[in-house]
């Protein structure tokens, strides 16, 4: 059967969550692979969430926040902007393809944009194939070789 990736979506309550809601109320079609969790602000996203999700079986994690300058808490998205690249470096350390983690800015009125991001990210994860972190015996498994991003 075709591989259906499971993606965790961490959406900030004021912009991306509202944007996603708009996409829904506007009846936009997009793949259901992203399971969303609402946080008050993209700054709330703790790298731990991302790692735990992958351990729990997520094939990809999508973090969305307000456009810089629009954040309801003024600077939350800037903190997220700093943490995500660090987390990507961490994933690399574990041998996980950093492209499985993606940060996007989606404002409250950009329903359409949310739809495109989710569609595109799903295809990208599908191409990368399942992560199946639990099957790894960490010691023996060779590090996953990944082409240039």
């Amino acid at each position: 059967m075709d591989f259906e990736p499971k993606i965790l979506g961490l959406l900030c309550n004021w912009c991306s969550y509202t944007g996603a809601d708009l996409a829904g109320t506007a009846r936009m079609k997009y793949p259901p692979n992203v399971y969303t969790v609402r946080v008050m602000c993209s700054g709330r996203v703790d790298p731990g969430f991302i790692l735990d999700a992958m351990r729990a079986g997520a094939d990809g994690v999508l973090v969305c926040g307000c456009h810089p300058g629009d954040c309801h808490y003024v600077e939350g998205n800037y903190k997220c902007l700093r943490r995500i690249p660090l987390t990507k470096k961490l994933l690399e350390g574990f041998g996980i393809d950093p492209r499985r983690l993606r940060l996007e800015w989606v404002s409250a009125s950009e329903g359409g944009r949310f739809k495109e991001v989710v569609t595109e990210f799903t295809e990208q994860i599908r191409a990368l194939g399942p992560l199946k972190l639990n099957d790894w015996a960490f010691a023996e498994q060779p590090l996953e070789v990944h082409e240039a991003a």
Partner: protein, 584 residues
């Protein structure tokens, strides 16, 4: 005080009062030509000469500037000797300035009708009284005109007779000139420029327009002479309550408030970029706001609808949706144009006999009584054409006469039409103000792609914003007409009152908290909080969150290395539980 007698009547006056003023108190009128109460007496026309008799010696002095100092002096303002002097003086003046009406009148008063002296220039009016030079030099302070050459060749002129740069066209010289020798000529053309109609007088000090709040005059610093030359101050001289203070400046005040209602409104769309409509290029193409101003009773045209050459239009075309419902400009519908366009049609029908053409896409008469108004207009003979105005072109080419050609497609009869009209009114779109982006950032509210501010929730909280205490009212939240704007205004006020009447602020349940035992005092979270809600307790060497200021964004919780901060309603465990559930 000293006692003097004037023409036999006694009077007591202050020292140094001039004879002219003393006589005026007695109601005795002494003729003057070169005197003005606003200026230092120049005493050159000598028409106010009177006899001052002390004992048997009599002396002739000018009443306008002779200071009365010693008492027991009798003054004759109309003795035979004085009258003869004035007669000869006037005869000389008639020869010098035959066309000066004030001299002719005064001369007639003294029975002098013609002059025995040769007249140099029959239409000369200037009597060289120097009032204009003095007012320009001392009162206005510009010093643009003065006396040149000497003796009988003396004349008032600008330096070297060329146009002076210091002249500020205040017209004071023309105002003070007693003989009308100096007149202000209006060189501007007679056309009525619709784009420059203003609702109030454009004097340096005026009430901007009738309904201005506060309804008091204010000084236009650009045009007021005082701010240019330090002179004039005529307005403070005539103000009975002496309330003019030239030192007043705009002040910025910081006021602490509990709530903010944002009602910053809109600006109208500038149709100039839409070259096809010829706004700013052809005469008589007006924007809706210009047409509105022209109709106002306080406008220079007094409310009359006139073309640029001042005549009444015979036909007017009103084009809807200029800049609205337009892919290249604003996709949204500005909601109010249809109804005010119909109002315009009604005004034109009422005030003039012109034909009216409404070019619309959809007639959105959505409000209570709006549809009935629309039908009434149809009965009044308004021609409605379903088709957006495509282009305006000058008639000149075709019918050789003035006027404009409106090209459009009448989709109901699917025909392409060209309608010759005298005037075109463009119903321009409502758009967000240029500075709304800055305001949004300042107030921490968000702005949609269409530029209007975003309400907390379109249905559940239309007047409040995502920031507590900041509310929205009026068009700044989206195009709406006056009834809706008033309703929203009242709602926003209600919301604000709610905060104030309760007196306490209900904190959201969600805010962060630090457990002292786990906190290692690393102070990473201190600088993190955008609201400075986290402070460090020196004594206990731990950080602490001020619940009232915390907005519960959770950024600090994510950053705390030891997990000492729990974001109450979004604790880590809750989120982990959701993740586990998703991937279980």
């Amino acid at each position: 005080m000293i006692k003097v007698t004037i023409d036999g009547r006694d009077i007591e006056v202050k020292e140094e009062t001039t004879i002219l003023n003393a006589a005026r108190e007695l109601g005795i009128k002494i003729p003057t030509l070169c005197y003005s109460e606003f200026l230092e007496p120049y005493a050159v026309c000598r028409i106010c000469l009177c006899e001052v008799v002390r004992g048997k010696r009599s002396r002739l002095v000018t009443a306008c500037n002779y200071p009365l100092r010693d008492a027991s002096v009798s003054i004759l303002t109309n003795s035979a000797r004085v009258r003869n002097l004035r007669k000869l003086n006037l005869e000389l003046l008639l020869a010098q300035a035959p066309a000066a009406k004030i001299v002719q009148d005064l001369a007639a008063e003294y029975g002098v009708t013609k002059t025995r002296f040769p007249i140099k220039n029959p239409d000369e009016k200037c009597i060289l009284c120097g009032l204009c030079v003095q007012v320009c030099e001392n009162l206005v302070g510009a010093g643009a005109i003065g006396f040149s050459s000497r003796g009988s060749k003396r004349e008032v002129s600008t330096p070297w007779g060329v146009e002076p740069e210091t002249c500020i066209l205040c017209g004071a010289c023309a105002h003070f000139c007693p003989t009308g020798h100096i007149v202000m000529t209006e060189e501007a053309d007679e056309r009525i420029l619709h784009s420059e109609l203003t609702l109030g007088p454009n004097a340096a000090i005026s009430i901007p327009f009738r309904q201005a709040i506060p309804n008091v005059p204010r000084i236009d610093v650009e045009h007021c002479i005082h701010f240019k030359t330090g002179g004039c101050e005529l307005c403070s001289k005539v103000c009975p309550k002496d309330c003019i203070d030239y030192q007043m400046k705009d002040e910025i005040e910081d006021i602490d408030v509990g709530a903010i209602v944002v009602a910053t409104g809109f600006q109208d769309f500038d149709p100039t970029p839409l070259k096809q409509y010829g706004y700013g290029k052809y005469a008589n193409v007006l924007s809706s706001i210009e047409f509105e101003q022209m109709n106002n009773a306080a406008s220079p045209t007094g409310g009359a609808i006139v073309l640029e050459n001042g005549e009444e239009p015979r036909s007017v075309a009103i084009l809807h949706c200029i800049g609205s419902r337009d892919e290249n400009n604003h996709k949204y519908c500005s909601r109010v144009c249809c109804m005010y366009a119909l109002k315009f049609a009604h005004l034109i029908k009422e005030k003039t006999t012109a034909e009216v053409y409404q070019l619309y896409i959809d007639m959105r008469a959505f409000g209570k009584g709006y549809e009935e108004f629309y039908h009434r207009l149809l009965e009044e003979g308004v021609n409605v054409i379903r088709g957006k105005g495509a282009e305006i072109a000058p008639i000149g080419g075709k019918f050789g006469e003035e006027g404009l050609l409106v090209r459009c497609e009448d989709t109901l009869i699917s025909k392409f039409r060209e309608i010759p009209v005298d005037m075109v009114v463009l119903c321009t779109a409502l758009e967000a103000r240029d500075d709304s982006a800055d305001l949004a950032r300042k107030l921490n509210i968000s702005k949609g792609a269409d530029g209007w501010f975003i309400e907390a929730h379109p249905k559940l909280a239309p007047v409040s914003t995502t920031t507590d205490g900041v509310f929205l009212a009026g068009v700044c939240q989206g195009p709406k007409d006056i009834p809706d704007a008033v309703a929203q205004g009242t709602a926003a006020a209600g919301q604000a009152m709610k905060l104030m009447t309760v007196g306490e602020l209900f904190l959201d349940a969600a805010y962060a908290a630090i457990t002292d035992e786990i906190c290692s005092g690393c102070r990473i979270c201190n600088g993190l909080c955008p609201y400075n809600a986290i402070s460090f307790l020196e004594d206990k060497k731990v950080s602490e969150v001020n619940a009232a200021m915390c907005k519960a964004c959770g950024t600090c919780a994510a950053a705390c290395p030891s997990g000492a901060i729990t974001a109450r309603h979004f604790t880590d465990d809750q989120i982990y539980a959701q993740i586990e559930a998703i991937f279980a």
